[in-house]
């Protein structure tokens, strides 16, 4: 078990965005998280690398307790890669430097080594010809693939994806999902918030449906998508399928 979330609550002004959620994820597992907008999916992911504080419960990742006040929190954070809906690439740096930077300043790798790793990863996500471009010169799909390479460069044990295809034009969604499928095949532990039900069905070991901060349904893709037990799940699936 690489992620162990026990009864966490994350509140904003008294309102619980994540409300008593427990979740255990094994190494190499791909868990897709679905649910209506505003149900707390992003907040749950953000709790996992301490971008949000939890008020109750505990999160243990690879044996370490996650606490944003912990002095070494940035050390623990680099075990958890995150890819955001809006890419959040560093606009003042080239693609190569976007991927190099944290390797150099956080992992303390030498420039040559960092560049070698970046080139490998950018090749893997199909962007070898863009290494010297600035983010502003890339399409949405290309940006998101850079963001994935940037996160992977830190050798995270877990990857979090927060609606990474939601800001993309339809024709670019495929190229990003393809990279994620490849990653899943290689055995990366992934938590994927997504509206791409087809992707979830194909790649997920488990699907979780969140509504109003709570897990209302959990199971294999077949169980959740084809034979949902909960009324909320049926309503949600009725809208998205």
């Amino acid at each position: 078990m690489i992620i162990d979330v026990k009864n966490i609550v994350c509140r904003f002004d008294e309102i619980a965005a994540v409300d008593n959620v427990s979740l255990a994820v094994d190494k190499g597992e791909v868990v897709c998280i679905i649910g209506p907008s505003g149900s707390g999916k992003s907040t749950l992911l953000r709790c996992l690398n301490a971008l949000e504080d939890i008020q109750e419960g505990e999160i243990i990742i690879d044996g370490f307790r996650i606490d944003s006040r912990h002095k070494e929190i940035h050390q623990i954070r680099l075990e958890v890669g995150m890819v955001f809906q809006n890419f959040n690439l560093f606009p003042h740096l080239t693609v190569l430097k976007n991927v190099n930077l944290a390797q150099r300043v956080v992992r303390k790798r030498k420039r040559d080594e960092a560049t070698r790793i970046s080139n490998e990863l950018l090749n893997k996500v199909g962007l070898t010809d863009k290494i010297n471009a600035f983010p502003g010169q890339l399409s949405g799909g290309q940006k998101q693939r850079v963001a994935i390479a940037r996160a992977l460069a830190m050798n995270p044990k877990i990857m979090l994806f927060d609606e990474v295809t939601s800001a993309l034009d339809p024709e670019m969604i495929g190229e990003v999902l393809e990279v994620m499928k490849q990653l899943a095949k290689e055995g990366m532990t992934m938590l994927v918030v997504t509206h791409e039900i087809g992707f979830a069905r194909e790649v997920a070991n488990r699907i979780i449906l969140i509504d109003e901060g709570k897990i209302v349904e959990e199971g294999t893709p077949e169980q959740v998508l084809d034979n949902p037990q909960n009324q909320r799940t049926r309503e949600f699936l009725g809208k998205v399928l």
Partner: protein, 226 residues
């Protein structure tokens, strides 16, 4: 005709006299501005740290120094502090202008930092970067471009306000103008020339700022070119 020639002669004499000291105006402004840059960067960053006390301290600095007339600050540094710890005119004058402009610069830096999308902080943090690493490698380089035009404008204001240090006897442009006017009773012509020289300086700087703005709008991002 004779009158005009005579006047032009007077004006050029004054101009020649003033131009001998104009470098002091420039030296004082540049030194004061360097202090302002350092104070501004330090307190601008301090204004948004997580440490409450440091944040409060930076807020106090900014509010106090912006709330006191520069002339009073100059008197305080020269007559007040200067008498206690023995500051000479130049040091006292430069410090007064520098820390005063530091407060304005701090606000410029703070707003430049806050203008950067919070997603940038989050992306950096999720890569394991500390707050300081994030600031240094991600936030400040991006803020820099936003900050250049207003910060450069502060230099122009700083140059104009450097005339205030004439009052503690620093012999820069304004002081020299006063000497000349008092000695030859040529107030109209002298102050006309003093004003003209300041104007030449500020107008050339304004042009320079325009060039800088253009340069920083294009370079580094490759975004706007599209």
């Amino acid at each position: 005709m004779n009158w005009l020639v005579e006047q032009l002669g007077i004006l050029s004499k004054i101009f020649y006299f003033l131009i001998q000291v104009v470098h002091w105006t420039i030296i004082i402004s540049v030194l004061a501005y360097l202090i302002a840059l350092i104070c501004g960067l330090f307190f601008g960053v301090a204004r948004i740290t997580s440490n409450r006390f440091i944040r409060w301290l930076a807020g106090a600095y900014i509010n106090v120094l912006r709330g006191v007339p520069l002339l009073v600050l100059i008197f305080f540094f020269y007559f007040g502090l200067g008498k206690i710890i023995n500051l000479d005119r130049l040091v006292a004058g430069v410090l007064a202008v520098g820390v005063c402009y530091g407060a304005y610069m701090a606000e410029i830096f703070r707003s430049g930092i806050e203008a950067i999308d919070y997603g940038q902080h989050e992306a950096a943090m999720s890569l394991g970067m500390t707050r300081w690493q994030t600031l240094r490698h991600i936030i400040l380089p991006q803020s820099f471009r936003i900050v250049v035009p207003p910060a450069a404008n502060e230099f122009i204001a700083c140059l104009k306000d450097s005339s205030l240090v004439s009052i503690i006897g620093l012999r820069e442009l304004t002081r020299a103008g006063r000497e000349y006017a008092n000695q030859y009773f040529l107030d109209f012509q002298t102050w006309l020339m003093v004003g003209l020289i300041y104007l030449i300086l500020t107008l050339s700087l304004t042009r320079l700022v325009k060039v800088l703005e253009k340069k920083f709008a294009v370079h580094g991002y490759g975004v706007e070119k599209k």
